[in-house]
Symmetry: C2
Subunit: 318 residues, 2 copies
């Protein structure tokens, strides 16, 4: 349950008078999501998602909303923020920063196959290319600086083995920085549940509220670690056909540089570390009043261990 | 037939590499339209319209494209221009300025009833409100200055009665200028064939290439003269239920000022004059190589005469 700030139909109908989207027809709370309050909104004009921001720093919101607007007008199927009559993407509703974005068609795919990985890889490459002309800047809010802060916070809750693994990985990552990798705006959280498919085609990517500027190949590693497992509920090794399909489709649109190939094994570990840490944090330091399902941190601890094994060069480096 | 500049699949596939819309799947010429070359374009990402501008002044194109982009991001269902990798809406294809815009769903309605007039009136009001924050400026290119220029050009082709009617109307309009009417970006050509309906709802308005800054009530008069006739093929008087429905839906969203009510009968005549003149011009001074069907100028001459009759105050003035 993630309705932190309830919105009534009459409150919304009044608020919508500041927009050009017609009259309110329906309002439906969205139960998933852990950061914001979300509603599906139907008006005489179309279908939208209303988001009330509960804890994201207000100063970061323009980066996310302008990025979505930028990508949408380049043809990337992501939620497009709707500007109000004062020409702003962000206004206020029931005391919270709020935005209205277009609702995308389609449904998430729990067990993507090679075909879905091809779709995702191609879209990710197009998104990276489209994002290069985006002028906004926000350092990846879940990057190395945050890793160290989060590690300090969760360390007291870890058993000695896990604590040692965490220290070891932080040290490894600190020794492997790649300052010259191609960078730009990245989604940084493009898990299966943040993508929609319609008739076999990828029809949307959403939830840009962990986006930031980072290496493109890091974004790719986040995706591969979630989309390309042999079995997400069991065998967390990378499935080679799915991995090659995703990377191949990406490279057909945005060829990777040799430095990106060299960084690849480290990036897979970095992407695993980031989500291991956030899941540890969510588990051991839940926010007050939080009722969301906690994802098991061990899932990413195991992925990290598997990616850390020797002999994991970039599959395209051969 | 309006393909002035043919585009092959391989030419388009190459051009689309500058965009983030995926690979080309299909290309289909659009036969209607008299100003530009248009194609329906299907890619792995979606459905678009490709437009090559054949004769619009290059300096005016940004006004139209930025206006469409502005309205689209306010939720108005109009074609949204797609930005290329250099972040431009306008580039070049086969030597012509070219743009790619989203394709809207739905179909035009030849004989709109009260329900469709309600839909149009509401959308027009929302469009006018959304357009108030648009920063671009282009004087209505078919405004009073153009009337006089066009009248000079078509006068030699008119019989004495029509010539006298034209002079009389130009004089009448010159005596009735309304400098203080609410103004903004207006479509100025929102005929039935420039709107789409889907399941009874208005799903799109397009062809913004006669747009400009003018009185809102002039835009309303252009619509009423086309959408609200008793019989477009015969009785060109205004159908009162349809007229009141369109105006009522508009006014529910953007109330009209008393000055707009006073100007209304003059605006209906101005809107008829503009299209009478352009049809006369298309008939008597066709552009070289033009093969399009010429619309009968007499249609608007008759509308002008009917609107010019005494006793035609604003229907909401009572």
């Amino acid at each position: 349950m993630s309705i932190f700030t309830p919105v009534s139909e009459s409150q919304l109908a009044t608020w919508l008078k500041n927009y050009s989207v017609g009259g309110l027809i329906g309002l439906e709370p969205i139960a998933s999501g852990i950061e914001n309050t979300n509603y599906f909104v139907t008006t005489s004009q179309g279908r939208y998602v209303l988001t009330l921001f509960e804890r994201l720093p207000a100063a970061e919101l323009p980066f996310y909303l302008e990025l979505m607007a930028h990508l949408a007008r380049h043809g990337i199927p992501c939620p497009a923020p709707i500007a109000d009559l004062a020409d702003r993407y962000l206004s206020s509703l029931n005391g919270k920063p709020a935005t209205l974005v277009t609702r995308l068609a389609g449904a998430s795919v729990e067990n993507p196959g090679v075909a879905e990985c091809v779709e995702l890889g191609a879209l990710l490459a197009r998104m990276h290319l489209a994002g290069r002309s985006y002028g906004g800047y926000l350092e990846n809010p879940r990057g190395p600086k945050w890793w160290r802060r989060a590690a300090d916070e969760v360390r007291p809750f870890l058993d000695p083995l896990r604590a040692a693994q965490l220290e070891s990985e932080l040290r490894f990552q600190a020794q492997h920085r790649f300052a010259d990798l191609p960078r730009g705006a990245v989604h940084a959280d493009l898990f299966r549940d943040n993508a929609l498919f319609d008739n076999g085609r990828i029809s949307g990517v959403f939830d840009f509220y962990f986006a930031g500027v980072d290496c493109f190949v890091y974004d790719l590693a986040v995706c591969v670690n979630d989309w390309c497992l042999v079995d997400p509920e069991g065998d967390r090794r990378l499935d080679e056909p799915k991995t090659l399909a995703l990377l191949g489709a990406y490279r057909a649109i945005r060829p990777l540089e040799s430095t990106e190939g060299e960084a690849w094994p480290v990036m897979l570990r970095a992407a695993a570390l980031r989500f291991w840490l956030s899941r540890l944090h969510d588990k051991h330091l839940p926010r007050p009043g939080e009722l969301v399902k906690v994802h098991d941190p061990e899932h990413f601890c195991e992925i990290l261990a598997l990616r850390g094994a020797r002999g994991a060069p970039a599959p395209w480096a051969a």
